[in-house]
């Protein structure tokens, strides 16, 4: 009994202390807000926001609610984070492997890239890419068409819009292709385990992913046409492109700088992971007749991934949180739209900051859970 009590008391004290500290902060905030005539409440979320946002994935204008504005900001944050993570991962893996290349030039170039980009503060890089891009890019009227349909200008990248007919049939054809590939893959694995025969799954997959959608065009009645951006004059020297889809330069600069910055850290994780696999593993794999490609894919990478994933998760989290620097270059992310404009218009500082903090927390924890699940999946399975 005594022994148990000794265990519990420190924990109890910690819990009480935490509760007291939080209680004190809440109480203090309440008193101060009351003294200053500020009321607390989340009712403002349903009020009309009355400000517009430059770039939104969902339909939004100032006649929508503050909650809708919050969603706009959140989706923009998720958009830039997802694109950033994908590019940073691809670039990071390539550079990480390149750093181990026996080729002197590739090796040194990768090392230079890593050291250069990871040692300059991110905010500076964002400013650099944004303002360098703004200075370097042509005005809409001077822009040269890329492949005749893309226009990269100071006001953004204009790309043709896709106009679909029977899009759902096209969509189902892709789903069907993916299901077929998974089935073939499991089947191929079974056959290999039973008969040792290898089926060219990769080639078949590529074929399927192209053939099924093409069939949907030929017999499914799917039609695709493009709306190419057209130059329009606003004033003597001021032009824009109309039609098509425009990606604002803020989004491009932010994705570019976040990816280039985070890729350096991922590259180091990848390098560490590969170097962390014993040399003997590689030699043993080679000695049983595996090709260098197979050695990397079947022996080195599965083991390296266990070392790579946990620190890479950190980098994903960093990238997501760093995306809040968007406010500096007018990319309407969660911080700019919600913790910026909405906070200013309503004056609900505590409410909005708490919602924003909770949102970033949720985003980060979601990424963590996903990565931990993946990490567990590739960990050594004790049988």
């Amino acid at each position: 009994m005594n022994f148990k009590l000794k265990d519990i008391i420190p924990q109890l004290i910690t819990v009480i202390a935490v509760v007291l500290v939080f209680g004190f902060f809440t109480y203090n905030a309440q008193i101060n807000m009351e003294n200053r005539g500020i009321d607390f409440g989340y009712g403002f979320l349903s009020q009309e926001s009355s400000f517009d946002v430059q770039f939104s994935l969902i339909e939004y204008d100032g006649s929508h609610s503050y909650f809708r504005a919050y969603l706009v900001g959140l989706l923009n944050t998720i958009l830039v984070s997802v694109i950033g993570i994908v590019i940073a991962t691809i670039l990071g893996v390539i550079v990480g492997i390149a750093r181990l290349s026996p080729n002197y030039l590739i090796n040194k170039f990768a090392a230079f890239y890593v050291e250069f980009f990871r040692n300059i503060p991110l905010l500076l890089q964002i400013f650099f890419w944004y303002f360098a891009a703004l200075r370097a890019l042509p005005l809409p009227q001077d822009a040269e068409a890329i492949f005749g349909v893309f226009f990269l200008t100071i006001k953004g990248l204009y790309v043709p819009a896709f106009l679909w007919q029977n899009f759902n049939i096209f969509f189902y054809s892709i789903i069907a292709a993916i299901i077929a590939i998974i089935l073939i893959k499991t089947h191929a694995k079974k056959i290999q385990e039973k008969q040792g025969k290898q089926i060219p799954v990769f080639l078949i997959s590529i074929g399927l992913i192209f053939i099924l959608p093409i069939l949907s065009f030929l017999i499914g009645g799917v039609r695709l046409s493009f709306e190419v951006p057209v130059l329009k004059q606003l004033a003597t020297t001021s032009f824009i492109y109309e039609g098509g889809v425009s990606l604002p330069p803020e989004l491009i600069a932010l994705t570019l700088s976040l990816s280039l910055y985070t890729a350096t850290f991922i590259a180091e994780c990848v390098r560490a992971g590969i170097q962390g696999v014993g040399k003997g593993q590689k030699e043993a794999a080679a000695s049983i007749g595996l090709t260098p490609n197979q050695v990397l894919k079947l022996v080195i990478m599965p083991q390296a991934l266990r070392i790579i994933i946990p620190p890479t998760t950190n980098q994903y989290l960093n990238l997501t949180k760093n995306s809040s620097l968007a406010a500096a270059i007018a990319y309407p992310d969660l911080v700019l739209v919600f913790a910026g404009t909405a906070l200013m218009q309503t004056g609900k500082a505590i409410e909005i900051v708490s919602i924003t903090m909770f949102t970033y927390l949720t985003l980060s924890i979601s990424i963590s859970i996903l990565m931990n699940w993946y990490n567990k999946k590739i960990a050594i399975q004790e049988k």
Binding site: R36, L234, L336, G340, A349
Partner: protein, 346 residues
């Protein structure tokens, strides 16, 4: 009987002394902000991160501008020295939180007086030190000379956290024009992006446009369009709930404006003590007990005029002579065709 009268007189005198003593200390006691300011020895003032003419720091860190002068006037009145001010540069986003949380005691940062700000968020506006309105700047080469030439798809650079974003929406909506708002957190980036050609127009308060134009690569290439799309009365703000402090800030500003009205300047203020006009004598502390109501001595207004100058001097020094807005427009005294009109100091 005679004996009693003498006693009565002394009693009255004592009560009177006691009464003045209590009213004085009550004013000081009622104002926590005043007490804290006097204890600290400096006025804590929130200003912009750099808006020429309003609040701008030079390379040595000296702040100048008409907004800065309001804080200096309060410091002169309360502490006797216009230089005893600690300036905190704030973004548009941070400014109100800094004030309500008690980090600063006066917010003098080209802030528009609106109903929701005054009523909702624990703030009180004490007056107007600059009558402004939102306008648009465009490149001269664009050939645009009026907002009626704006067309669908125009991109407008501005900064967040201001009434600007709301006015802009109201304006474009009422004209039925679709536009692309590009909103930055800080004014410097807005200017840089507009200057680089990211936006067709730059919109903010006209004073701000005039001030920022001076920062551009080639100021002559840009013009401010004649239309004004909103009313922007800019003025100092204090926290709600300290009526005495509110009065001190309000009347420090009013003193500067009224001093100009009566022709009292920093150089002639001492001579004005012997003026025949009682209104002038009250302003320079030679008559009346105006300071007592705030718990201040009677020279508080004289110090403001001597150390900071009247409103006209402040305007000339900060806005006219720097070439930002040489014409005072509505910010002229009511006696000279403007709308500056303050209640009398008496």
């Amino acid at each position: 009987m005679f004996k009693y009268l003498k006693q009565l007189t002394s009693l009255v005198a004592m009560v009177a002394v006691l009464f003045t003593f209590t009213t004085e200390s009550m004013a000081a006691k009622k104002s926590k902000t005043l007490k804290n300011t006097q204890k600290k020895g400096f006025v804590r003032c929130g200003v912009s991160q750099g808006l020429p003419g309003f609040s701008n720091a030079d390379a040595a860190g000296n702040w100048t501008g008409v907004d800065v002068d309001v804080c200096r006037a309060v410091a002169a009145a309360v502490l006797g020295d216009a230089n005893k001010v600690k300036f905190t540069p704030l973004s548009a986003k941070e400014r109100f939180t800094a004030l309500t949380s008690g980090e600063i005691d006066i917010l003098s940062r080209n802030t528009t007086w609106t109903l929701s700000r005054d009523a909702d968020i624990g703030l009180t506006f004490v007056g107007v030190n600059f009558y402004d309105g939102q306008g648009f700047m465009v490149r001269k080469s664009s050939g645009i000379t009026s907002t009626s030439q704006f067309k669908n798809g125009i991109s407008a650079c501005t900064n967040i956290g201001t009434t600007t974003e709301l006015n802009m929406r109201d304006f474009f909506n009422s004209k039925g024009i679709s536009y692309e708002p590009v909103a930055f957190e800080k004014a410097d980036e807005v200017v840089a992006a507009y200057d680089a050609g990211r936006c067709d127009t730059y919109t903010t308060d006209k004073s701000g446009l005039a001030a920022q134009r001076t920062k551009m690569k080639n100021p002559d290439e840009h013009i401010v369009l004649p239309e004004t799309i909103s009313k922007e009365p800019l003025g100092p703000v204090v926290r709600q709930g300290d009526a005495v402090w509110e009065d001190i800030v309000r009347w420090s500003l009013n003193t500067m404006i009224e001093a100009e009205e009566y022709g009292i300047t920093s150089s002639n203020a001492d001579m004005m003590k012997t003026s025949d006009n009682p209104a002038i004598k009250r302003l320079v502390g030679a008559e009346g007990e105006l300071g007592a109501a705030f718990g201040l001595d009677n020279d508080w207004s004289l110090r403001i005029i001597k150390q900071v100058g009247n409103y006209g001097e402040s305007y000339k020094r900060n806005i006219a002579d720097t070439g930002i807005l040489p014409d005072r427009g509505p910010n002229q005294l009511w006696t000279k065709g403007g709308i500056l009109y303050v209640p009398p100091a008496r």
